[in-house]
């Protein structure tokens, strides 16, 4: 069985599983929820964005720069497929 290597990395799995349960979230929320560092999150974010699994939007909230992340439809499908593969592997 071929598990999606892009999702299988623990940090990216944590990012995607948290983004999966919300509509969108800012980077601070992801940092607080996953316990990753800024550098770590940033590098994984880039990889996931390049694969079009997530969409990253830079915006301003109360005049402060904010990074908003949202899982794309492609990302959701890939994540669901990954979960299914894992389930089958465990069973």
């Amino acid at each position: 069985m071929n598990l999606d290597p892009l999702i299988h990395a623990p940090a990216r799995l944590a990012i995607l599983s948290h983004l999966f349960v919300v509509e969108s979230a800012d980077a601070t929320w992801l940092l607080a929820q996953t316990g990753l560092t800024w550098g770590n999150l940033s590098s994984h974010m880039t990889k996931l964005e390049e694969a079009k699994y997530i969409q990253v939007k830079k915006t301003f909230v109360d005049r402060k720069p904010t990074t908003i992340l949202q899982m794309s439809t492609k990302g959701r499908r890939a994540f669901e497929a990954y979960r299914e593969d894992m389930r089958q592997l465990i069973e």
Partner: protein, 208 residues
Amino acid sequence: MNDPLNLDSIEENAYRKSNLDDGIFDILIGFCLLLWAVSLHFDYGALGGIWFAVLFPTVAPIRKKLMLQRVGSAQPTPERQSKETKKRSTLIFTLAGTFLLGVAAFFLFAAKDGLVGDLAESMRGLGSSILAVPLVLISIMIAITYKLPRAFFYAFFVVASFSLVRFAETSDHWSQIHIAILLSAIAPIVTGTLLLRKYLHDHPVLLP
């Protein structure tokens, strides 16, 4: 880190972390009770409801001000939003139902003395303690609906406060009611403050 494949648990933990674990809600409830007690002391008991109505909308801005740079924010899914709306509606309907039942009971038993005089007498005997019932009910409802065990402790504290005042009082039950409510406010204020302190310590400002 949560189990990355248990999405229900991730969603629940994320929701709790953003809405229930910081103690702000507890402090607010405590302050509402405190202000209600003060209003009662000055014979403006009806202001109790106004304090709740005025202070509750402040939760979101206070939380945003204190927490945005620490834990960020997330937009919940429409499913989650509808789940929360259902929970809130259940809570409000139960409270409204309890209130209406209370009013009905009052008119049925207390107002019609001749009909069921003994029951009316025993209800009067309960005096101010009867007010503990909705407070306890609200706490228990919150504990069950939001899976928040500390709300059971608040319910217990309300019972303890009203019992204490009832056993200590010498004259009219109603003249001491503000003390019972004041004591009831201590538990959520102290617990909320401790939770908030821990939360702020555990979640430093993350924005670079």
